[in-house]
């Protein structure tokens, strides 16, 4: 997939961060637009029509969460949120408001590029195929079949539904609220959260080699779960530190 010529809107009130994003993305052939404030971001998004938006949450005027809401009123352009370690609730809020992914500062260029690529792929609808594979895991949505290598895996209907939701948003972080909404709609949130934890645990026991060090369904503390697509084969992934 060609990344050249794709347009990125970088929103951050810190000039050094914008400069870093600019040189990083330009060197990979992206065209970069910049915005310093939330209002500027919304305006710039209208004018330049970017393919992906990198949005800092701590903006001086209207916060990143609010910007996400504004943008989602009229565009589905992927939004990748930048935040600090302590900002779990902001992250979750932004994701629930429609952001596609998040990165914690400081982040590595490799991570950023991977997130951008994944977001672009999802936006282009390239992962809507009926068969999902990552490492040894194969999920055939048409045949309702789940396999690890050649071994078929038996899942309960709820586990399967949960896995299906994760698969259809593969690579993307799903917040607890989003998962509950997709699978256990109508159940009291606290109870649903309980059921979600149990089902994730069960899924891991069935899919993962070592359930306490999962490779497929990973946890983002305080945020949600993610079905990994990249890095699964390569064990040496440097997580966010």
């Amino acid at each position: 997939m060609s990344e050249r010529g794709l347009r990125v809107l970088a929103v951050d009130d810190e000039r050094p961060i914008r400069r870093f994003l600019c040189s990083l993305l330009s060197s990979r052939g992206y065209t970069v637009y910049e915005a310093e404030t939330g209002r500027e971001a919304v305006e710039q998004a209208r004018i330049s029509g970017p393919d992906v938006i990198i949005l800092d949450l701590g903006l001086p005027d209207i916060g990143g969460v609010e910007v996400t809401r504004c943008l989602r009123e009229w565009t589905q352009t992927p939004i990748i949120v930048l935040s600090v370690r302590e900002g779990e609730s902001d992250k979750v809020e932004a994701l629930d408001a429609g952001a596609d992914d998040y990165l914690t500062k400081p982040f590595s260029p490799g991570e950023l590029m991977a997130r951008i690529r994944a977001a672009l792929r999802r936006a282009a609808g390239l992962e809507k195929g009926s068969v999902f594979t990552a490492g040894d895991l194969t999920v055939d949505l048409a045949a309702r079949e789940v396999r690890i290598g050649d071994r078929p895996v038996q899942l309960t209907p709820t586990e399967y539904t949960l896995l299906k939701v994760l698969v259809s948003h593969a690579g993307r972080i799903m917040t607890h609220a989003q998962l509950v909404q997709a699978v256990w709609r109508g159940i009291h949130y606290e109870d649903a959260l309980h059921i979600l934890r149990v089902n994730v645990s069960n899924l891991r026991h069935k899919l993962e080699q070592d359930a306490s060090r999962p490779r497929y369904i990973t946890t983002d503390p305080g945020v949600g779960y993610r079905l990994r697509t990249e890095h699964v084969a390569a064990a040496g992934d440097s997580g966010s530190s």
């Binding site: 606290e190 934890r197 645990s201 306490s212 946890t219 503390p221 530190s241």
Partner: protein
């Protein structure tokens, strides 16, 4: 007007208890004498006790009683007058007046003396039932009887008043002593106000007010419900506080208000105002005595408040010193721990900018890897400092939700990344998903810190063990390493900030990790402990209540103190 009896503690209710009880031979006459004497002396009505208040109705009653006694004597005399001469009867009248003087005081005695003289004339001296006196001898008898009665009653009443005064003096000396003693055991200003108010209400029978300075102004700390209170009263209080002189009734300033206001004077300034509202009907001389008692109370209160203030100041000075010491440690640690990685990163960058020609590829690579490691270390330190300051500010909010402990362990290992992946880590977890109400992010951070320590302080080939157990309503997590371990004598201090167990060498910690863990665990209402393994190594174990409504812990004031108390 307040009833004296309502507020007098038994010991201070003057003259109501038969306290005069000298050892005497135990026969009937002596007992009778004693009981009569007691009746005469003891039943002084509180209306006559000037220190503790007066009661007009009581006073009226005592006049009535004195006159009744006189009437009784007259009836008796009249009944036996035919067997006795009037001269014999005279002594009964004098006796009645003396009894009245002892028992009810000067006024009723005088009244009964005059009434007695007329009754003597009317009922006893012939001609009977007539005020006319035919015999000049009887006139002399009657006049001398009146004179003797008046003089004796005056003398007796004076003695009685002196005794009364002595007794009340003793009573209020005792009261002041009791207040002084109670105040000596108090510490804070709040306690002083409480103890003082209780004692004053118990012993002093007039409505009182205690006002102390609060942030520059004067604020009422205690006020009897009956204390009449308006702007004029308050103006007197403020004047007394600002000028340091008594004000209000009985003084030259604000004599029109009802209260008497006394400044609480100490060597270090005015500490507040004490006031009392003595009833309007009370004689100024008696009121003045009340004010002297109030003054004694004021002195005690002033002393106690002054002392409390000094103690407070000393305590603050100590805290300040402690804070100062901690701050120095913090600055030292931060400057060291921030500058070291920063020096590496800056040096690497500068070298790459300036020495491009002389650096070969492998050197460049090595320098960059090193700089990256140091930048990561810097990031972790900043994170720890942030956690620490959030804990200190009481800003750590526990957001409990059902979490699978296995998930927490996995997330922690994931966060540790490469460091945890290349070391043998043995997990012992419950077979079934163990759901506990906890804050996922905070507990993950606790585990990250503990495992990170375990990795840092044990050799690369030694395994790390993580063990999760469910024990009586709690989940217990243990992180065990097989390194050198913390020396026994350092275990206690392991959770103190900036404490690095004597490792000032190449280790990368700032001594914050464990104290953050402690703060986070305690914010969950849990406990954390560290101990040495049997063959060396360190085990850190923390417990978190499974059923605890952690929300309560994060919200309550008491928890906030607990969280912030990890400072020391």
């Amino acid at each position: 007007m307040r009833g004296a009896s309502r507020h007098s503690p038994a010991g201070l209710r003057l003259g109501t208890s038969p306290t005069i009880d000298p050892p005497m031979p135990n026969f009937a006459v002596a007992r009778l004498q004693r009981s009569i004497a007691n009746w005469i002396i003891s039943a002084a009505p509180p209306g006559e006790t000037p220190i503790w208040g007066e009661e007009l109705s009581r006073q009226r009653l005592s006049y009535l009683e004195a006159l009744s006694l006189m009437a009784l004597v007259t009836v008796a005399s009249f009944a036996i007058s035919r067997h006795l001469t009037p001269i014999d009867v005279v002594m009964f009248y004098v006796l009645a007046v003396v009894i009245a003087a002892v028992r009810w005081g000067r006024g009723p005695a005088t009244c009964s003396a005059v009434a007695g003289a007329f009754a003597f004339d009317f009922f006893v001296i012939p001609p009977l039932m007539n005020f006319a006196i035919t015999d000049i001898g009887y006139l002399i008898t009657m006049v001398s009887m009146l004179a003797v009665a008046l003089i004796v009653s005056a003398l007796v009443a004076e003695v009685r008043e002196q005794a009364e005064t002595a007794r009340t003096n003793a009573a209020y000396v005792e009261a002041v002593y009791a207040i002084a003693q109670a105040l000596a055991e108090t510490g804070s200003q709040d306690q002083i106000v409480k103890v003082f108010a209780r004692h004053v209400v118990e012993t002093f029978h007039w409505p009182v007010l205690l006002a102390l300075p609060v942030r520059g102004g004067l604020a009422t700390q205690f006020r009897s419900p009956e204390f009449a209170y308006d702007d004029a009263e308050w103006a007197a209080a403020v004047w007394a506080y600002e000028v340091g002189q008594p004000a209000g009734r009985g003084t030259e300033r604000f004599p029109e208000v009802r209260g008497h206001y006394l400044p609480l004077r100490t060597a270090w300034g005015i500490k507040g105002v004490l006031a009392a509202q003595v009833g309007e009907a009370v004689h100024p001389r008696l009121a003045a005595r009340q004010y002297r008692v109030l003054e004694a109370f004021a002195t005690r209160a002033a002393l106690a408040l002054g002392r409390a203030e000094l103690e407070q100041k000393a305590h603050e000075a100590q805290l300040l010193e402690e804070t100062d010491r901690l701050q120095k440690a913090l600055l030292n640690s931060i400057s060291h721990n921030l500058r070291t990685p920063l020096a590496t990163v800056t040096g690497t960058l500068r070298s790459l900018l300036e020495d491009t020609a002389i650096l070969d590829e492998s050197t460049r690579q090595e320098m960059l890897i090193n700089a990256e490691e140091q930048a990561t270390r810097l990031n972790r330190l900043v994170g720890n400092l942030l956690d620490m300051s959030r804990l200190e500010a009481g800003a750590v909010r526990v957001k409990p939700e059902p979490c699978d402990i296995q998930d927490v362990v996995g997330a922690a290992l994931e966060q540790l990344g490469e460091a945890a992946r290349c070391r043998p880590i043995r997990l012992r977890l419950p077979a079934h998903p163990l759901l506990v109400n906890l804050d996922f992010v905070l507990v993950t951070q606790v585990l990250v810190n503990l495992v990170d320590n375990a990795l840092k302080y044990s050799a690369d080939d030694r395994p790390i063990e993580i063990q999760v157990r469910e024990t009586d309503g709690q989940v217990e997590v243990e992180v065990i390493d097989h390194g050198e371990g913390i020396p026994q004598e350092h275990l206690e201090k392991a959770f103190e900030r900036f404490y690095r167990c004597g490792r000032s060498d190449g280790g990368t910690g700032a001594g914050l990790g464990l104290s953050i863990c402690k703060g986070f665990v305690e914010a969950h209402g849990g406990r954390i402990r560290v101990r040495r393994g049997a063959e060396g190594g360190t085990t850190v174990a923390f417990t978190i209540p499974m059923t605890a409504d952690a929300e309560r812990h994060s919200e309550s004031e008491d928890e906030r103190t607990r969280v912030t108390s990890t400072r020391g």
